[in-house]
Structure formats: C-alpha cells, structure tokens
C-alpha cells in the first residue's frame, strides 16, 4: 500500500486510452458524466479567464491539467458525504449537480452569491445538493475541520465520510500535521486528497519537502498513503472508492497523493513563465487528462464527434449563460456587511450599520474604485 516518489503512481488508463485488465466500476452514464464535468470545468475556466482579462471579475484560478483529480474523486463519493474542498476543486461540486450559475454568482460576488459577495471569487460554499464546505483562503485550516466532521459521523454511527482536498504546498501547513495525527489516533472516516500539482505558487514540490513524495507522509501518522496518477479519472475513482470503503468500514483515514500538474498559472495574478521550465510543461501537456479520458471513452465506444460537440456546446453555452445572468445580478446591499457576523445582530453592529446608511444618505455612497487582485 505504501508508496514513495520512486514508486510509479497507480494508474488505470494508459496513454492510449486502454485499461488492460482493470475493472471499470462506473456505469456508461457515469463515465459520460465525468467527461461532461471535465469539459464544464474547462469551459468555466475559459469564460472566467476572459471575464478576468476584460476586468469584469477580479480573480480566478486555472484548473487546466487537474480536472481528473477533482472529477475522479467526486465520482467515488455519495451526496451524503462531506466535501472540504480547496479553491481548485469546483469540479467536485459540478459533478454532483451544483449549477454553474451558482458558481458564477460567487465569481461576481453579487447579491445571489451564497456568500453574499463577502469572499473572493472561487471561494465557494454550498449545502445542496452536496455539503461543499465554505472554502477558506488560509492554506491547511480545513484539514482538521474535516477530521472533526468525520468524527461527528463516527459518533452518530453514520457511514458517511469526509473528503478533504489540498495541494502539495498544503502538506507543509500546520493543519496537515494536526489533522493527519488526530485522524490516525481517532481512526476517523476521512480521506486526505493531496493534489500534488508540482507547484505551490512558485515553489516547486521538490523544495516544499525533502520526503520521498507526499504519500509517504502518512507513515508519520499511522495513516496508509497511496500514490495515484492524478491525470487518470479511473485511477482516482478507484483510489478514492477504496479509501471511502475503508473509512465506512471503520478502518480509518487514507492519504492519497494524486500526481498531476498545474498547466496554467497559480491564478490570474500569476505569471508562471517566470519560474516554470518550459520542457516540463511540454512533457505534461502530452499527459492531458481530458485527452486521456477521451481516448478511453473512444476505446469503450462511448465517444463520438457529436457527443463531443453536444457536450462542448452544452458546457460553453451553460457557462456563458450563467455568466450573463450573474453579471446582470446586482451587488449585495450595504446591510450584508453587517449580517451573519453573529446569528443575531448585536447592538453595536446595528448602530454601525445605521450610521453607514445615514452617512450614505447625507454624503452619498462610497466609491467602488477598480480594485484588481494582484495575486
């Protein structure tokens, strides 16, 4: 079970799309849905990139290259499980039926955003149809939270699991250490999904840690670690399925290292050409997860030109329509600055809110400025 950097990651789909002796656990419908979701992630990315470049939203994070991690993992879990995502995981939400327009409301930070425009773009929060925990910027804090949520399932005797996703950089965080340690001791039903995409902004994975890969870190906590090809939807599906089954059986947590590559910049504020070696980028371009999955679907006889055209159109039109709707939706009202700080509005916040409205009446409203995010 234990794997190291030197070990080859677990893989199901070969470069040519064949799966050899591997069993495919997903139905045809599910397989197509995986593909649809990957294309939707790409479409969402493209549209957001354009929106950002034209100054209509402030920020986005590219997912090119890491689509299979999100989608393969999501396909292995149930809607009753609890997702603790990072900012590069919204494919998981899309897979389980969150509507693009709900995400777009967040990208525009408008009045219909579930977070009422309080968070930066890509910091989603959903409770339906899956519990997709409110994404936080500080790296690593959500790991112990996922362990706590898992322990709650355990205490109530429910067989749900928590999945928490984070990056190679995230393994250096404090939350990684306490979460893996507590989960190991508690045998909590949690899956730690480390997406090793090669970079933490400009810090390469080799400078992030001197360990022999990331899966091996589980040993420090008595948590089994496995290394998986993160560009392979079916390998991801199988690894997460097995981890989920272990967890549901009460056998505790698993650490999964998904080996993948961030093909774009860290975010719309980043210029990766300053630090990413072009040769390596080219190598990884050949391992594109969407291409690989397409080859597999072809071999399975599930792919056709018309399917591709339909799914692409569906995705692009869906996302564009979502963007249009979100952009047309107004900004949250001034009062949303003051609500949700506590369950009940305390007197001092009421007073501050009233003063803000009063000032706006007397002296006009504040200026929005341009405020582009530099990172």
């Amino acid at each position: 079970m234990q794997t190291t950097q030197s070990t080859e990651p677990f893989r199901v789909i070969s470069g040519d799309g064949s799966v050899g002796n591997h069993q495919v656990a997903l139905t045809d419908e599910q397989l197509v849905h995986c593909y649809r979701t990957m294309l939707t992630v790409r479409a969402f990315d493209d549209v957001c990139m354009k929106l950002q470049r034209s100054g209509r939203i402030g920020f986005s994070v590219p997912n090119k290259g890491v689509e299979a991690c999100q989608v393969g993992a999501a396909s292995a879990l149930r809607q009753t499980d609890f997702f603790f995502p990072s900012y590069r995981d919204f494919g998981m939400a899309l897979y389980h039926g969150v509507q693009p327009v709900e995400m777009m409301h967040n990208m525009f930070g408008n009045a219909k955003d579930s977070a009422l425009g309080r968070q930066m773009p890509v910091h989603f929060s959903f409770v339906e149809p899956i519990k997709f925990f409110s994404i936080s910027s500080p790296i690593g804090t959500h790991l112990p939270q996922a362990v706590g949520a898992a322990r709650a399932f355990q205490m109530r005797g429910e067989d749900h699991v928590a999945l928490v996703s984070f990056g190679d950089g995230g393994t250096s965080s404090l939350g990684f250490h306490s979460a893996l340690n507590f989960a190991g001791v508690w045998k909590a039903p949690v899956i730690f999904l480390c997406q090793n995409n090669g970079w933490a902004i400009s810090c390469p994975a080799e400078e992030q840690t001197a360990s022999d890969g990331f899966a091996i870190k589980g040993q420090a906590y008595g948590v089994p670690g496995i290394k998986v090809d993160g560009n392979d939807v079916l390998a991801m599906h199988q690894a997460v399925s097995e981890a989920a089954e272990r967890a549901r059986r009460g056998e505790g947590p698993t650490l999964i290292e998904a080996v993948t590559y961030r093909m774009g910049g860290h975010s719309t504020s980043d210029d990766p050409s300053k630090y990413v070696p072009k040769e390596i980028l080219d190598q990884w371009a050949e391992k594109d997860p969407v291409q690989r999955f397409q080859s597999f679907l072809k071999q399975k006889g599930l792919w056709s030109e018309s399917l591709e055209a339909d799914l692409t159109r569906e995705a692009t039109e869906g996302i564009s329509a979502a963007a249009k709707e979100a952009e047309a939706t107004g900004a949250p009202g001034l009062e949303t600055i003051f609500s949700d700080v506590y369950a009940e509005l305390p007197a001092h916040l009421r007073a501050q809110g009233e003063a803000a409205f009063d000032l706006a009446r007397r002296k006009g409203s504040a200026d929005a400025g341009d405020g582009a995010f530099p990172l």
Binding site: D113, V127, G148, A152, M155, S178, H348
Partner: protein, 324 residues
C-alpha cells in the same frame, strides 16, 4: 442549594450540559482520566464514557480545528485549552476560521462551540502560565468572549455559551478557581451573555472589571467606602459583544471611571472601555479615565504580586479619580 467553588461550578455546568444534550462533548489535553490539570473535567469520562470526554494529542490547532468541523457537522464541542498561554497555536483556527465561518458562508455553515481556558496570574506561573490574553480575541468580529467571576455566573454563563449558536471563548480566572464557595443552583439555568453584573452600587466612582480582578476591586471599594468614596462596581463578564449602552450608563452615573484588568495596559481591553466613553459621553466625565492594569512587560514570576493590580493600586486610582 449546593455551595460550590468556581471550578466545581464549571464541572457541574459541563455535566448538566452533557446530560441534557447528547451532542455535547468535551475534549482537550489531559481532560480525560486525569480530569484536567485543574480538575475542571473530573468525573466526565467516568460518567459519559471516552467517546464524549477524551484526551487529544498535544496540538491546540488540532483541538480547535476538529472542534470547528464537529460543530459544523451537528455536534456541540466544548474543548479545553490547558492554559490560555497555550492557545496561540490555535489562533488561526479561532480568528480566521471559527469567527468567520458564518460570515464567509452567508450562514450556510456555522461553528457553535465553546473553547474553555484558564487564564491569569496568581499561581507563580511566570511568563507562560499566567497571561490574560483576552484582548487578542476581543478584536475579532464573529467571536464571543466570556469571563465569569463567580461560581453562579461560571455555571450560568457556561450553559449559555454551550447553547449559543456562535463560537464562544470562555476564559476562566484560575486565581478564583478555589477562591470561595457560593450558592449554585442544581440543574440547568443560564445567565444571558452580553449582560453586565452590578457588583456594588455607588455614586462617586464607577469601576469596570472582570474575572480575577472582581474580588480585588471589591476589596478596594470596601476600603474606599471607609473613606466615604462610594464605588459602583461593574463586572463586564461578556467582553464581546459588550453591552456598550450598559457601560455608558454606568459611567455617566458617576462621571468618574476606573478600568481594571490584569493584562498589560497597551492596547488592552481597558482601552476600548475608555475609548467608548471618550467617544460617546466625554462631556459627562469629571476626571481622567484611569486604567489599573498589568505592566507593559511579559509576566514575571518571582515578582508577580508586584505585576498584578492589587487592592493598593486599585484604591490609589479610585482615590485619585474621586478627588480630581
């Protein structure tokens, strides 16, 4: 009615909450079989089993971080930080996460939980077993900060905190853990958060205080009374959200204010009390707003009795303000 010490009242409050609500659980370092280093959790593992009261590995980040996840998933965790001085590894989880979860998710996710921790000096604990760090937390919107000073309040405020829908930092004055016994009702009752306690009436000087300083201020007020200076003593007991109107009323009544806390003065909690008064009712003030606090130094050991505000220092400030 049983008479209990403050720490017995805390222990009783935990038991009442756990009996009443299955989702309440208690964890932290050494809170299980040992019952906590101050015995606040004594007997809980025996009564409720180690699923509901248990020891954790030595990580405050882990304790608070997992508590947030439990709270977000239907439990009511009451975790303990062994000494407030050791809460800082959990600072990020408290300030960035617990306090901001409701806001950042538009109310979709919340963290109803209590973090209990003993704070303050008086036990020769030196730099790291004596601190009063309330001001590190009261600047944090989304958090509630509660400090009891009597056995009755300790239990009632703790039960209110456990029932509260928002995260509460519950700081217990360790110097008062075994200070005295007082009547504490059996079973369930609550003391509302964000309410002040009038410790003593008086028309000459208003003294604001909380936690371990309350008995010190009471003694000083008694001495002042012997000189004919009658102090109104107010125990703030919920520091955040504070009953600001109540503070203003109490200050306005005498026009002479002293604020007392153990923590260092600079940017300490007392500064906010002064500032609220200076911002809203300065025209009623007939004297400088005096602060009696710990010094702006780390907490010493051998000389802790010089560091801590005592009756002498409080009385001196009361006299000064009264005469002004």
């Amino acid at each position: 009615m049983p008479t209990l010490t403050l720490i017995q009242a805390v222990n009783d409050g935990l038991k009442v909450a756990m009996r009443q609500d299955e989702s309440v659980l208690v964890f932290g370092e050494d809170v299980g079989p040992k019952g906590g280093v101050f015995l606040a959790t004594e007997g809980l593992t025996a009564e409720f089993g180690k699923e509901r009261c248990f020891d954790t590995p030595l990580s405050e980040d882990g304790i608070v971080g997992t508590a947030i996840g439990m709270a977000a998933n239907g439990l009511r965790p009451v975790c303990e930080i062994q000494f407030q001085d050791f809460i800082f590894p959990a600072f990020d989880q408290i300030v960035s996460e617990a306090a901001k979860l409701r806001y950042r998710s538009g109310g979709q996710y919340t963290a109803p939980m209590v973090i209990r921790t003993p704070y303050g000096g008086g036990i020769r604990g030196g730099l790291y077993h004596s601190q009063s760090g309330e001001a590190y937390f009261t600047h944090t919107a989304g958090l509630k900060v509660v400090i009891p000073s009597t056995p009755y309040d300790a239990k009632g405020l703790l039960l209110a905190s456990i029932a509260d829908p928002d995260p509460v930092l519950f700081m217990e004055p360790k110097a008062l853990y075994r200070h005295l016994k007082a009547d504490v009702p059996e079973g369930h009752y609550t003391v509302d958060l964000s309410t002040l306690r009038q410790v003593r009436e008086g028309d000459d000087v208003t003294v604001f205080c909380y936690g371990s300083m309350v008995p010190v201020v009471e003694k000083a007020a008694n001495k002042a009374a012997e000189q004919g200076i009658h102090c109104q003593v107010v125990d703030l007991r919920t520091l955040l959200p504070l009953d600001e109107q109540g503070v203003l009323e109490a200050a306005r009544k005498t026009g002479r204010v002293v604020v007392v806390h153990e923590a260092p003065r600079f940017c300490g909690y007392g500064a906010e009390i002064s500032a609220i008064i200076a911002e809203n009712i300065i025209e009623y003030m007939e004297a400088p707003i005096r602060r009696v606090t710990g010094f702006d130094t780390p907490f010493p050991n051998t000389l802790e009795h010089h560091y801590l505000p005592d009756e002498r220092r409080v009385l001196d400030a009361i006299e000064e303000v009264a005469k002004y």
